[in-house]
Amino acid sequence: MPDCSRIDPLVTPFVDGELPQDEQQTLTQHITACPACRGKVMAERAIRSVMRTRRSELSGPPAPADLKARCTLLKSSSVPVAPPVKSEPSHVRSLRTSAWRSPLAPLAVAATLLLLAGVFLYQATRGSSRVLAAELTMDHEKCFRLNRLLGTHNSAEAVEAEMASGFDWNVQLPDEAELNLVGSRPCLSGEGKVAHIMYTYNGQPVSLFMLPRDTRASELVQVFGHRARIWSEGGRTFVLVARESASEMERMAALVRTTIR
């Protein structure tokens, strides 16, 4: 019988199922006669099993939402890579102030950012309202720009029908003089799951987003020169995005909340 010091290195690959057939046999024969080596096999097997079984508890928290967002922004295909950013994606902000101005190129950049972000950010948005607000603000910008080019104008009935068929959301839209309906778009954020209804309020663009099956705390977030008012109701999350003061945002939100059904 081979001595234990020659068997010892075979124990780990045996437990992991990585040992060639002939060595497996050698080991199996040895451990039937040797309690010490059998103990090693059983100990390693027990640890391997407990580690695997408890994997999810051992793993700790998932990556924070803003880390995901920052890593997404590092893609070579999105924008030139800026130095690591802590909270505010400053290269996005600088894009908005420089390249953003010419009519079509920035649109392409925004659309690229959005499409790329869309694949990934939806997970992230589940955690952070700030990331959600940033993402929807980009949608708001993009859709209004597109709309200015295309000149789309939808009736309330058309939008309501689209919400019912596309989002299983039977809604009666606010019919207020102050809020003028522009139209709706099924936005690409997160697998096209976000409803986007565009209004003008005192002539300024306002977006109302609806995320089905999502609830989160009420919050007013400032991002990219816009404000986003977030609230949840009936298992849906609503986000109002505009370039307005905090008090105007609250007023609009109240208007929408009382009229939307």
């Binding site: 690959p13 309690p35 103990g39 027990a46 928290p61 990556a63 070579s76 295909s77 790329l116």
Partner: protein, 194 residues
């Protein structure tokens, strides 16, 4: 399980493939972060490490060989980055893998485990997660990494060897010693016979 997504794109010159490659890589952010947290133990350091990993990965996309394990490739970058940082701070944690530790690892009485009917079931039943966590955290760095990469992240010996930049035999012996130390530290099985 925990393998790469079905589509592993070639990160070559064409921009669609590039975007797909980057999207695939980003799916591993959670598992990279967890491992980074184990390495650094400080959330902000772990975040920096992950971000640095993606920065390097996206810059070095051309060196990824399509068809190989993308997650393992990212983990290698993560570990290299962590090692370089540790070296910069002139305390290379891998040197903890000393003879003292190696000898200490051999002390538990495994004959006892061999006599217990089913140590696996006993361990699963009697070990609380916080206790297991604490025992894992107390392992010397080199052993903890090896056991973690094998038993939690389920990488192959060869992949771990590449990540930790050590020979295959060293990977196996670190896993072996790490597991045995863990077993020795989880006390429940001892009182029965010891």
């Amino acid at each position: 399980m925990r393998m790469g997504p079905a589509r592993i794109a070639s990160p070559g010159a064409d921009s669609d493939a590039r975007a797909a490659f980057e999207a695939d890589a980003l799916e591993f952010v959670d598992s990279l972060y967890r491992t980074a947290l184990r390495l650094t133990r400080v959330p902000s350091d772990a975040e920096d490490l992950v971000q640095d990993t993606y920065l390097k990965a996206f810059r070095a996309a051309d060196t990824f060989r399509p068809g190989t394990n993308l997650r393992a490739w990212l983990f290698t970058i993560l570990h290299n980055t962590a090692r370089n940082r540790a070296r910069d701070r002139s305390r290379d944690n891998v040197t903890v893998d000393s003879e003292v530790v190696d000898q200490a690892a051999d002390t538990p009485q495994f004959a006892a485990a061999g006599r217990v009917d089913d140590p696996e079931t006993l361990l699963l039943r009697n070990t609380m997660t916080p206790e297991l966590k604490a025992a894992v955290d107390e392992l010397p760095e080199a052993f903890r990494q090896a056991v973690w990469l094998r038993d939690v992240e389920e990488f192959s010996y060869a992949e771990i060897a590449e990540m930790l930049n050590v020979p295959l035999g060293t990977v196996m012996s670190r896993i072996s010693r790490g597991r045995r130390m863990l077993f020795g530290r989880l006390q429940h099985l001892r009182p029965v016979n010891a």
